[in-house]
Each structure stands twice: as C-alpha cells, then as structure tokens.
Symmetry: C2
Subunit: 478 residues, 2 copies
C-alpha cells in the first residue's frame, strides 16, 4: 500500500470509525459467541499472496464485530470506563506515524519532553504538592506507564531498592538475599489483584490488610500500625504500602492522611504508593479533590488517565517525589543508548513507548480543563441518578457509598437470587454489568463507562433490571 | 469534538500523516535542540477553556517536529528498525475506536481469539515446532507482549515459579525464600540490558556468560555447561537461560542447538528462553530459518514483530510450549473478571491491552507472506551493499559478520578516531547512527531501519561517512 492508497483508505477508515461510534447503540453490547468462534471463520494460515484491502475491510463485520464487547456503547456498565475520545484518536494516529520509540531523550527529544511537561500540566490540574512537579528544577515529576499494574510494580521495585540500600548503608555486611526475604509489603484486601501480583513478581511478602463494611472498606491507620508493629517484632522489615483511592469492587477510599502518619517518613520510612486507577481523574474537580488530601505523605501516586480522562489507552500517569528513586532502581547503561545530553535524571521515561503524551496534549487542549471537569461531573450525576432509582425501590439495596461513577447494588436477599439476576441481565445482552463480592455478599456493579451515556440510557437500564428482577423473584424462592 | 467534526479532522490527519511520510526525507533526521527546548514553547498549564483544533495542529510543526528524531526517515540507521506500515496504521485506528481492553476472554472475545489465531499464523510462517502452536488442542501457543523486555521478564518469572514448585515437590519442607536466594539465571554478556534488569526485578542472580570475538560473540555450550556445574557445586540452583538470536550490539547468534543440549530437559531442567527481538522477523524467509534451528529445545521464544515485520509498535510476539506455565505463574482470580466461559487455559492474554492482533491481521493479509519476505530480503541486500562499500575501502574494517540488516564497522585505528567520526556524523544531522562496544573497540552500527530506504540512500550515507572520515583522519594523529 503506497501513500496515495493510504490517503484513500485512511479516509474510508475515518468514516468507518465515525459510523461505528455513531451507531454503536444499535449493536448488541455483549457478544453472543462461544469460545473458539473465530478460528473457523478465517483461514488456518496467512496468505502467500496479498489479499485485497476490500476483503480485509469486509471481514471486520463478518469476523470481528460479532465477537466484540462494545466498551463504548452507552449500555456498557461493566468493569470501569476506558477512555475513548476523538482528540485522543487523532493524536494516536499522528503518534503511530511518527512512530518513534522513546527510550531515551535522544531517541526523540520531543517525546520525552512533552511527556514531562504534560505530566506537570496534569499534576497542576490535580493540585499535586509541588514535590511531584518536575518544572525546571524539581526533584520529582511524572512519567507515563502502560497500566496501573505496571505503576504499582515500578513503585514496589523502587521501594525495595531503597529499603535494601538503606539497610545496607547501616549494616554493610548483611547479605542482600537475607534482607529481601524479610521485606514485607501491605495493601488493602480490597486492592486490585495486580498489587498482590506485584509482590509475587518482586518476590516479596505482600500482606492484605483487612477492611470492614462498617469502615466503608477503607484501611484504618490503626490496623496498619498494628500489623507493622507485629511484623517488626517478628523480625520482618515493612517497606511498602499501597493505598487505594477508589477500589475496584466498590470505589472505596483508604484514609491516606491517617495512613500517611503511620507509614510516612517520621515513623517507619515505608514507601507509600497511592493507586487511584479509576478515581484519580475526578480529582481535577475541586469538589472531589479532598479525596486526595494526604497525598503529601506519598512517595508515588498513580491513576489511569486512560480510564476516565478521555485519553485513550494506554496512559497510566504516575508521579514520584524523587525521580532518582526510580532511575536508581532501573538504570542500565549500554553504549548504544548513550548520547551527548545524557544527564542528571532531568528526564526519565519508561523502557519503550510511543509518543503517548501527544494524546494528553490534544485532549487537554481540545476539551480544556472545564470540558474535562464537565465530563467527570456528568458521569457522577448519572451515577447519583441511578442510585436514587435503586433507593426508590424497596426490593433493592445500595451496598456501598456512591462517591463517583460506580453504584454497587443488590436485591435484598440471597446471593443466589443476585447471581441469577446478573446472569439474566448479561444473557439478555441489552446491557452489560459485572459483579463483585462485598463482605461475602454478591453485589452488582453499575459503572458509568461510555462517553455517550445519557439519562435515558440509565433509566432504560433500570427498567430492564427491575423487569428481570421481578421474573427472577417470581421463579426463585425467597 | 463530535462525530461530524471527527470525520473532517480525521481526514485532514490522514493527509497530514501521508504528507509527513511522503516528505520525511527532506527533514533533518536527528533534531538540533537542547534539553528543555520544549517547555518554553508552550504554556505552563493546561487551558481552562478549549483551544481551537487549528491551533493544536499548527503546534505540531512549531513545537513537536523540531524535537523529533525521524525514525522512519531513510537516513535513520540507529538502534534497530521499528515498524511503520500503512496497513498497521489503519488497523491501529480501528483498534483505538473499538477501544476494548482485552484482560479476559469475556472482556472482548474477538480480541483474545484473533490474538491466538494470529500468533498461530505467525508461528506457522516461522515454521515453529508444533508444540508452540495453540490450534484447537495444543498445550502451547502465542501471546502478544508489549516489548521483548516484558517477554524476557515473563519467561523468567514463569521459570522461577516452575523451579520453586519442582523443588518444593521433592522437598516440601524447604522454605521458599531459601530457594529463591539460591536461584541463578544466565545470559550472554552480549544480551540486551533488559535481561539483566529482569533478574533485578525478579530478585534473582543473573550471571553473564562471557563471549569471544573469535566465537563471533556467540555463547558456547561448553562455557554454559561449566558455569552451571560450578554453580551447582556451590549449592546454587540454575533455572533459567536467556539465549539471544541477533544481539543488539552486533546481531550475534547464540548456538541454541548446542545450548539446548546443555540447558534442555534431559540434563538440568533449565528454562531456555530465546530472545530474537530484532532477528526473529527474518526467520519467515527459508534462507534465514536455519538460524532458528534448535528452537525445539526452548521453553519460550520471543521477537518483536514491531521491529522488522511491518507491524507498528507495540507487538512483541511470544510463544511458550506450555501455556499453563505462564497462566500458573500469574493467575489471579477476582470475581469481577469471572465469566461463564472461564476455562482451561485455552486462551490467555496479557494484563491489559488493546486489540493488538488487528494490526497483525491487516499486515499479514495486505502484504502476504511473500510481501513480508521481500521486505526482509531488501533490507538484508542493502546491508550487504553497505558492507561491500566498507570492505572496498582499506581505511575501514568490518567488526562482525553481516548476517541480516546490521553492519558493524569502524575506521582502522583508535577508539578516539571512531568516536570523533561518529560525533561528526551525528552532528551533521544528515544521517543518524549509534555505536556499540565490541571487545573493547568502539564500533559504528549501521542498521537498516526505514521501510523506504533504497540503494541511493545507502550510497549517499557512505559518501558522507567517508568524507567525514577523511576530515577526522587529517585532524587527528594516527
């Protein structure tokens, strides 16, 4: 395919995408296929000679679309949102064409520099403490990761490195493996599974801190303090705590100010990482910013701009107070990466990545801060609207505070009846939800996801849910 | 921005991209900016109110382009190629619009299934042993990772998990931390820095196996055998070996058949991972496939289709003989990811990703296997052409066998003279190269990178290099 054909096919693709998104409501949100459906629809091997472009495009509807879960349908309420906006898509097109791999400043200066500046822009939107802003002289700053899982791991590894160095500094004879085997990290029992996995990867103990429904599933400072004390008494070395702002099951918020006093430098020199994967975007609104109070105690902070801030995947934004902590933990120095401006840790970036900051730049400028705030607020309002529909129906209950765009709810009654209801909802394929477990109860999660969801979709979804609930309650014994 | 405006802006962006790539030759390949150049060109904060789209587009030339290293210029010969093709860009546009996150089969069945089938297509193009093909009943199969670094780490973690389980199976009382601290992994001293980093992340010893110029920088079976024996005698547990096919400095090839006999199941049950990040794409050509002989001894194999196979970043293709080894090492099971078709490890995919297999599908079909082979062969021919230009000049020497698209060369003489030459080349900004160290010698790497590089560019580059060499040799004492 030459440039002339690309001009034609590219424009056709723009129309195909616009058509897809314009009419996405008409598609079945959750596909009705069995595992293995796709293999039989296409050849077993790649063609020797080229296929025509027309054939490839025809196969999008024949092969792909029947198996797509339409995350951007206004009827999609599963998991958490993933961003999808036109400015971000335009920036991604450009990023793909420039196609530079930004593993060092010299590999493409604009790529590294725009990332640093965009992370400052976003940090300022969030009113992060000055410590996290790179500016021209700061020691902290932001870097884009692929996912929150990656950020959690990166923070954990930097914390491990810092802990080992600190201990070796005071006791240089101590064998390093002896230190690692004593390290212990903590996170909420509500934390995302990737936090536990980060511990597995790094080969360190990760303890889950129990939470209670009565505490709104937030980790209490006292609980953490007690666990740390017990572990220290047992000869272990507490070194890392991952707090969550907006947990995956119920969007619960750990009390980071309280926790900061426990894990902060004054007491134990434990690295506090804050994972706000979903909720982080909302902190650009003054009314939600108090949820982030206590950030001053953190060593690192991360959220997924690719979830709720209209910047398409992947764009997981992470800040640290000391860039040198990250650089020190990962530094490698082969000659083929050296260049004349190799310096001082002013810029740092992840291993390999495209020009991801371009889409932040496009989105921030084309929406403006106000446009982004409006978008967040609209989702929260829709969640509140759904919450009031649930509360108005005596058969249902709300299972966790509705703080942002997630409503956890259930039929009063057994787990079985709720499991059946959810199955019925998803098998109907008109809307799509996933469940969670809260204090042993099977709960339905209604997450505001699509950019195009409006009040009418919410009401339609609720009508469907109540109708199916009625059926289920008639069939199942109470 | 609404759909109507996206149709217009998207088509403008297609033209902008086509113009950029059509005229990329006219741009300075390596930017002439100082660190910090970008910050002063844009505001310190995001705008409150939206900027106009026109202003954003104008800023591409004003702010971004002056700082871009143009990886797809035919004058770019640095690092290794990164893929950039029109079919892949079209597929990426579609992938961005569908915007599903494929962390489970149910999250978007088409995403997971096309990935499995495309990895089979590619595995068959490479003539991988049947063990690595998923098919409908296989135990092995392929999965897309972001980078070769990720694949190396994933393989290492799976190997660590397998080793610990095997040891615990025979000695259930042994404490797990006691095992980890005895584990030892190996790779060539020519391996990519990410291999060493994988060891750091996983918290295991990683030993570098020395290589010699006389052995063409390939790891010798005998050397590995000796190191393993010594380590076993010292009470360590060898568990992982990362072989490289096509090293970053000089595109050297470890002798995997010989190494397979050392590290394979018969002798030590060491996990052998093969990192063919750059060279892997060439194995679709029958004449280069012998370089992969011995693959039958490997547990896992990876290369970057996003380097040399026209599939835009990111698309690092990894195969394993036993999917259960990967799944077992990373499995997490939260309720919000469960679904009705949760089964048997038939599908597995990385944590979070977009619909990356779409671009494999577009590229394989629109080029056809022959088109892809032609592309690889053209680069190899151009490298041979450059090699013969170097060999014809008595002042220069070739520093390593030219097997694929990389030519390592230097002026006969001191490192200083070669460093000066490289500096002069890059400061001239007409072509861009990076160096490597081979046996203490400073060497220039000439890597065929851009899709659009032709014989005339090679000859022009050589003319420039010889002209600068003459200047340098006149200035510097021999």
């Amino acid at each position: 395919m030459d440039t002339t054909e690309f001009r034609r096919r590219g424009k056709e693709m723009v129309d195909l995408i616009a058509d897809y998104l314009e009419n996405i409501e008409q598609r079945t949100v959750y596909p009705d296929v069995e595992p293995g459906y796709l293999r039989s629809l296409i050849p077993e091997e790649a063609p020797e000679e080229p296929d025509t472009y027309e054939d490839v495009v025809k196969d999008i509807e024949r092969v792909i679309m029947p198996g797509v879960t339409h995350w951007h349908s206004p009827y999609f309420y599963a998991y958490f949102p993933t961003a999808n906006s036109f400015p971000a898509m335009l920036a991604d097109m450009l990023s793909g064409a420039i196609g530079c791999i930004g593993f060092s400043w010299a590999a493409s200066p604009a790529c590294t520099e725009l990332e640093t500046v965009m992370m400052d822009w976003l940090g300022k939107m969030l009113k992060l403490p000055e410590d996290f802003i790179a500016g021209t002289h700061g020691q902290g700053g932001g870097v884009i990761q692929g996912t929150a899982s990656e950020a959690t791991l990166v923070a954990l590894l930097a914390a491990r490195c810092r802990a080992v160095r600190m201990i070796l500094a005071s006791d240089p004879q101590r064998p390093e493996t002896g230190i690692t085997s004593k390290l212990v990290a903590y996170s909420s029992d509500q934390a995302h599974c990737s936090v536990e996995r980060a511990g597995m990867i790094a080969g360190v103990r990760m303890k889950k801190i129990p939470t209670e429904q009565s505490d709104k599933y937030a980790v209490q400072g006292e609980t953490l303090r007690r666990m740390i004390q017990e572990d220290k008494a047992a000869g272990l070395i507490p070194f890392y705590f991952c707090a969550t702002l907006g947990t995956t099951p119920s969007c619960a918020f750990d009390h980071i100010t309280e926790l900061g006093h426990v894990s902060g430098p004054a007491l134990y020199k434990i690295w506090m990482h804050i994972d706000a994967a979903y909720a982080g975007s909302s902190f650009i609104c003054p009314e939600f910013r108090p949820l982030l109070n206590g950030i001053e105690f953190a060593d690192s902070f991360n959220f997924n701009a690719h979830k709720w801030l209209l910047v398409n995947f992947d764009c997981s934004t992470m800040w640290v107070k000391k860039r040198s902590d990250l650089i020190g933990a990962f530094e490698m120095d082969p000659l083929y990466l050296k260049h004349d401006h190799q310096e001082s840790g002013r810029y740092f970036c992840t291993d390999n990545s495209l020009f991801r900051s371009l889409k932040m730049w496009f989105v921030f400028r084309i929406y403006g801060l106000k446009g982004l705030q409006d978008y967040i607020r609209k989702h929260v309002e829709l969640a509140k609207e759904f919450e009031s529909l649930v509360r108005a129906d005596q058969r249902f209950e709300i299972s966790a505070d509705v703080v942002l765009g997630l409503v956890c709810f259930r039929l009063k009654g057994s787990n079985e009846v709720n499991e059946t209801l959810l199955k019925r909802i998803n098998n109907g394929r008109k809307i799509h939800l996933v469940p969670c477990l809260l204090s042993g109860q099977f709960v339905l999660r209604f997450a505001l996801c699509a950019r195009t969801t409006e009040s009418r979709h919410i009401r339609e979804a609720w009508q469907l849910i109540t109708q199916l609930a009625e059926e289920v309650m008639q069939e199942l014994p109470h």
